[in-house]
Structure formats: C-alpha cells, structure tokens
Amino acid sequence: MADVKPRVRVPKTASAGEAITIKTLINHQMESGVRKDKDGNLIPRQIINRFVCTFNGETVLDVAVEPAVSTNPYFEFQALVPETGEFTFQWFDDDGSIYETTAAIEVS
C-alpha cells in the first residue's frame, strides 16, 4: 500500500539496562472485512496482521494483530536498553507489504 507511514517515539538516549517506553502509530485503514459498501458488497479485508519490534536483532515485542484493532493502529510498550543500538519496527500487511522504520538510541 502506498502512503503508509509509520511513526515511532523512542528516546534518543538511555542508561544501560534502563526501561524505556516506546509508542508507535501507523496510518492504516485496518479494513476488517465485515464492512459493506454502498451496493451491499463486502469490502475485502486488509489489515496489518503483525507488528514486531526488535533491538539489535533481539525481540522486544511481537504482536499478532486481528481486525479488532482500530484504524491507525497504536501500540505502546516498554523495552530494555542494554547497550547503544537500533530498534527496528515492522508492520506486516495482509497484502504482503512490510512497513519498516528504525530508531537509534545511545546508551550513556
């Protein structure tokens, strides 16, 4: 899908071993597949079905997402930061697209 832009909020710095709060938001209709259009036809399902956050390759959170998650999916969670590195965020679309963004963090 074109025009899908994820946004993440990650602090720029942290102390080693600190727990930080991460917020993520992505614009996506999350078409559930149970809505009907004006002519009464079912609008086909198209949602983000999975969200994964890793840090330097290790998993922080892995979410199996169902159509019950609202339009413009929002996730907030906490991560441990053992060392300087990079968070990777991926959202998997039903149509096979993967939306990805990263955020670097420096450990003081």
């Binding site: 832009k5 946004r7 917020k23 938001l25 339009t71 929002y74």
Partner: protein, 285 residues
C-alpha cells in the same frame, strides 16, 4: 414539510432529550498539548451572546478522560498522521506554475494566526471565505493546479495542518462592519428549528449543553477543535461536514458543504467561541 405541528410533539422530544443521564458537569481539567501549548478551554462568554452562556467551554471538556488524553500529545493524536501527509503535499510542486505551497509560504508556521480568524472576508472579492476557499484560490489561481474537493482527504489534511500551527491562539472573528450581514445570517440559522425533529442548534448546544442526549454528552457546540479527529470516523472531520451531519440528524435536508449558509454559520459559530484557543486538529468522539 410537515402538515401540522402537534404541540405535544416538540415537548415530547425535549422531554426525551432531557430524560437521559443526569446533568453531567464538564470535566475539571486543563489541556496542555505536547507539554508546551497551553490551551484556553474555558473563558468569559463574548458580549454578543448576551448571557446565553455563562461562560464558554471547549468541547474537549465534555469527552471522557480517555478521549481527552489522546489530544494531549501529538504523538498519540492520530490526526498527526494526516498533518504529516499534508506537510509532504505542502512541499510538493503541483500545477502549471511549478510551485509548491512552500514556494511562497515557506514553512507552514508562517500561516500561524490564519486559522484563528476563519472564516474571513477576502480583500479582493469582498466575499466571506472559509479556509478551504483560500487554499483552492492559491491552487487554482497561483499554482495552476486543480482545486481540491471541500471535504476531500487532501483538503482535510491541509486544513488540519493549517489549524495546527495556530494552536493556542484565541479564536477571533469580527461580527460587525462587512461581517455583520453574514453574522446575522449565521445567527438566524443557528436559532432556526430544522427538520422533522424541529431542532435548532441552540436546542442542544445552548439550552442543554452538559446534559445527555441518549448517551452523548452535549457540548456547547464550539468549532475551535476543527478539523477534528473523530473516533467514530477514525479520520478528520471538517466544520461543514459536521454541520451537515447535525442537520441531517434533525431529519432535514442539510445545506450543501461549501454553501454560503454554512460559511455564514461558521462565522457565527466561530464568534460564539471567540476567546477559546484554536485546538484543531482536536480529538472528539
């Protein structure tokens, strides 16, 4: 139009409206966005209201705490997703003149103040224009680009961006001079009962703000939060679209989006909120 007006009908409707939950006070809370934009969400009612409201209160106060929280931070506010899309469009060349919004306007911040006094009489034509018309005027006459539909996603995104840079500024529209005729027209629409349900804006928003109509906590109907991110639509909603929805819900044929009636109504409604901070894009139910 209806054939007769049984007096009991109107009384029954009002009784039903008031039979909802007991009068709920607007929540006592303060709104600071991004820990830096201090919003004035309650203030003295403008003189022209002549006491119709004891004070003016932003619609933000009438929503649940969870809804109010979403507006406190641009990150949590899904409207920001749309504002960001507008920023991209702002910087993109469009039209025969090969210009972008930024070619003339530089940064969106340069439009700070614009939204606080919408709608505004256009100096060249003398007509009262809403923000959407200013945008399309630039697009058509200066950029040589196509006009955007009043309620199109691109227009709503752009008005959200334009509103966002005026946040915290007090709403301030004139009501006299060349504005007077439009203002009087808007005022008349505000107090006119429409539709099968024979409801005027004032019946809910002036006479019953703070009460519940079924489970909806009625606000004073100010428009300082538009374009709002409505949870119901999971999208931005423009001022005119909201007016249309309200009038449609009285079971009347609404005025058209972009009509002079709605522009005049916009002026009158903005004036009722003179003094409240621009909150757009706000979060509402």
């Amino acid at each position: 139009m209806t054939k007769e007006l049984p007096i009991g009908g109107i009384a029954a409707i009002t009784a039903i409206a008031l039979a909802g939950l007991a009068m709920a006070e607007p929540e006592d809370d303060t709104l600071v966005v991004n820990e830096e934009i201090e919003m004035v969400t309650r203030t003295a009612a403008p003189d022209h209201l002549e006491g119709a409201l004891p004070e003016i209160i932003s619609g933000w106060h009438f929503r649940t705490s969870e809804t109010r929280d979403i507006q406190r931070d641009d990150f949590d506010n899904p409207a920001s997703l749309f504002v960001e899309q507008a920023v991209e469009v702002w910087n993109t060349v469009d039209g025969s003149a090969s210009e972008s919004c930024s070619s003339c306007h530089d940064d969106p911040q340069s439009l700070r103040g614009f939204w606080a006094s919408q709608p505004k009489i256009n100096e060249e034509t003398g007509e009262l224009w809403a923000a959407e018309q200013y945008v399309n005027n630039c697009r058509e006459n200066r950029m040589g680009a196509d006009a955007w539909g009043w309620n199109s996603q691109t227009m709503r995104n752009m008005t959200a961006l334009i509103a966002s840079v005026s946040r915290g500024l007090p709403m301030s529209v004139p009501t006299d001079g060349d504005y007077a005729e439009h203002w009087e027209n808007g005022k008349e629409i505000y107090y006119t009962r429409y539709g099968q349900l024979e409801l005027a804006c004032s019946n809910c928003h002036e006479d019953n703000w703070g009460n519940n109509i079924r489970a909806d906590h009625l606000s004073q109907g100010h428009i300082n939060g538009f374009p709002t991110y409505r949870l119901k639509d999971a999208n931005l909603v423009s001022r005119h679209n909201r007016f249309k929805g309200c009038i449609r819900d009285t079971r009347a044929e609404p005025y058209a989006i972009g009509s002079q009636e709605f522009i005049d109504l916009e002026l009158y409604l903005a004036s009722r909120g003179n003094g409240l901070s621009v909150e757009g894009p706000a979060v509402r139910n």
